[in-house]
Amino acid sequence: MDDTGSIIAFWLLAALTVGSAAGVVAVRDLVRALVLLITSFLGVAGLYITLSADFVAVAQVLIYAGAISILLIFAIMLTPLASRNNAETFLQVPGLLLAALVAFTIGLVSLQTDWSIADRGGFPETASAIGEALLDKYVLPFEMASVLLLVAMLGAIVLVRPEGTPEE
């Protein structure tokens, strides 16, 4: 990764991702914070593309920037009388200290460690290899993930069902 194009792409996408994530902290209005969060998701998808992870990048756009942000919009819209304020609680200072400490520690460790870097280029394409791995080596977690999605869907429906709904 040393041609000029991918270097520029990395710095632009990293600035977009971290900048709009910082905007989520700073912006007072909840809906604006959500828009900045979607921008951050799209920046992460771009970073996946610079890492030649094509399938994960498309899944990121579909599921995070598409589905999960729509769920968050629903959570905002379905609570009309609640406050739209995105301010902090009394945990602001300890939260800031803890978050800075965690980020600093992770960054320091990742700079100090001697990772065994492989000298190979990017992947040519990943979707077929991921599909084969999901149905061959990881078939049990794959099935458990489908059961988990079913249980989560049923649980969400049961939780928000209005009280007094007659049983079938």
Binding site: V24, I106, I117, L148, L149
Partner: protein
């Protein structure tokens, strides 16, 4: 200057720190959810970066793990939305500092 693994790890660390702060300190329940999603994204980015750069016999295992993390994150978001609705129906607020029924 070439882009190496450390660049991506630093971006992941920054993103995780921001997400942790949002999840800990925001007053609104939906804001806290946004912080959790930011932390998921930081971890996924780190997975994919290791998968791309580090020596391994099966380098695509990181991508498979990211697919599972995205699945679990989707399930978590759906259940969390249901919980927010439930709390809102009972208390007419989703502010974290006003949901204090268990406080003695």
């Amino acid at each position: 200057m070439a882009i190496e693994l450390e660049h991506y790890l630093i971006v992941g660390a920054l993103l995780f720190g921001i997400g942790l702060y949002v999840a800990l300190a925001k007053r609104n329940f939906v804001g806290v959810l946004m912080g959790v999603e930011l932390m998921f994204n930081a971890v996924n980015l780190t997975f994919v970066a290791f998968s791309r750069f580090v020596e391994s016999e099966q380098p695509l295992s990181g991508h498979v793990f990211v697919v599972f993390v995205i699945t679990v994150a989707a399930a978590e978001a759906a259940v969390a939305l249901a919980m927010a609705m439930l709390v809102y129906r009972n208390r007419e607020t989703i502010d974290m500092d006003r949901i204090n029924l268990l406080k003695w």
